[in-house]
């Protein structure tokens, strides 16, 4: 299965639960700040996303939308 995610950067609070739980390593930290003062995560284009939505399931701040192709 192939999928992709959208990260709403303004909502992200840098908790990194998505990174920890993503089975594919498709999410990674970044160093830019958002208006809340957090550094939202970003997708790691080098790894694939399977659209499993584990990241979204764990994201406390509803910052991730998941799609499958």
């Amino acid at each position: 299965m192939k999928g992709y995610i959208k990260i709403k950067k303004e909502l992200c609070k840098e908790c990194h639960l998505c990174i920890h739980f993503c089975p594919k390593g498709h999410i990674m930290p970044s160093s830019e700040f958002n208006a809340q003062g957090y550094r939202p995560v970003t997708v790691n284009e080098e790894k694939e996303c399977n659209g499993c939505a584990i990241c979204a399931t764990m994201c406390p701040d509803v910052a991730i939308e998941v799609y499958r192709e």
Binding site: F33, A35, Q36, G37
Partner: protein, 179 residues
């Protein structure tokens, strides 16, 4: 003469510690002081800030509607608080983290890359002490000596090496501000 300083940043940056150490040092110098932390639902995980008032007479209100000094340790604080500062006042910015600069034209701005300096000194957690070095030099409210002695007492029970680290951090900030 009354001086008020406002410290702001994330929780965890040691912002309240900056205020307490300044207030204590000023007290040790013989000034009247008050220290007022902000508290609220928003404090958890979010921003932290506090106000120190120092004067040679009794202090009425510990609230600073127009502080003489604003210390900004993160970006949101700059946006939130820059308008508070009194005209002619000074804003200290932790320029390692805060990229923006004040829009105010009637204040003096001092940028200290204190996170970077602290990092170089090998202890990122002393960024706040670096900033205090700059602050003490600029503000001249208490002597570096009194401040450092106070800081040592406050840290008290903890190990000696810490005092050394803090002294270094302080001096780095002090020197940077003078440069």
């Amino acid at each position: 003469m009354m001086t008020k300083a406002f410290f702001s940043g994330f929780g965890g940056q040691g912002v309240l510690m900056m205020g307490i150490s300044l207030a204590t040092a000023a007290m040790n110098k013989g000034l009247h002081v008050t220290y007022l932390p902000a508290y609220g639902a928003e404090m958890r995980g979010g921003t932290a800030n506090c106000t120190v008032a120092m004067a040679d007479e009794e202090i009425a209100s510990p609230v600073a509607s127009a502080p003489d000094y604003l210390v900004v340790m993160n970006s949101p604080s700059l946006f939130s608080f820059q308008n508070k500062v009194t005209a002619g006042g000074t804003i200290f910015i932790n320029s390692s983290i805060v990229e923006a600069r004040p829009i105010r034209q009637d204040v003096k701005t001092i940028c200290i890359p204190c996170a970077d300096i602290a990092h170089e000194l090998g202890n990122t957690r002393t960024a706040n002490v670096v900033m205090m070095g700059a602050f003490i030099r600029e503000s001249n409210i208490v002597s570096p000596d009194i401040y450092l002695k106070t800081l040592e007492t406050i840290m008290g029970s903890r190990k000696k090496s810490l005092a050394e680290i803090n002294r270094k951090a302080f001096t780095a900030g002090y020197d940077h501000a003078g440069a």
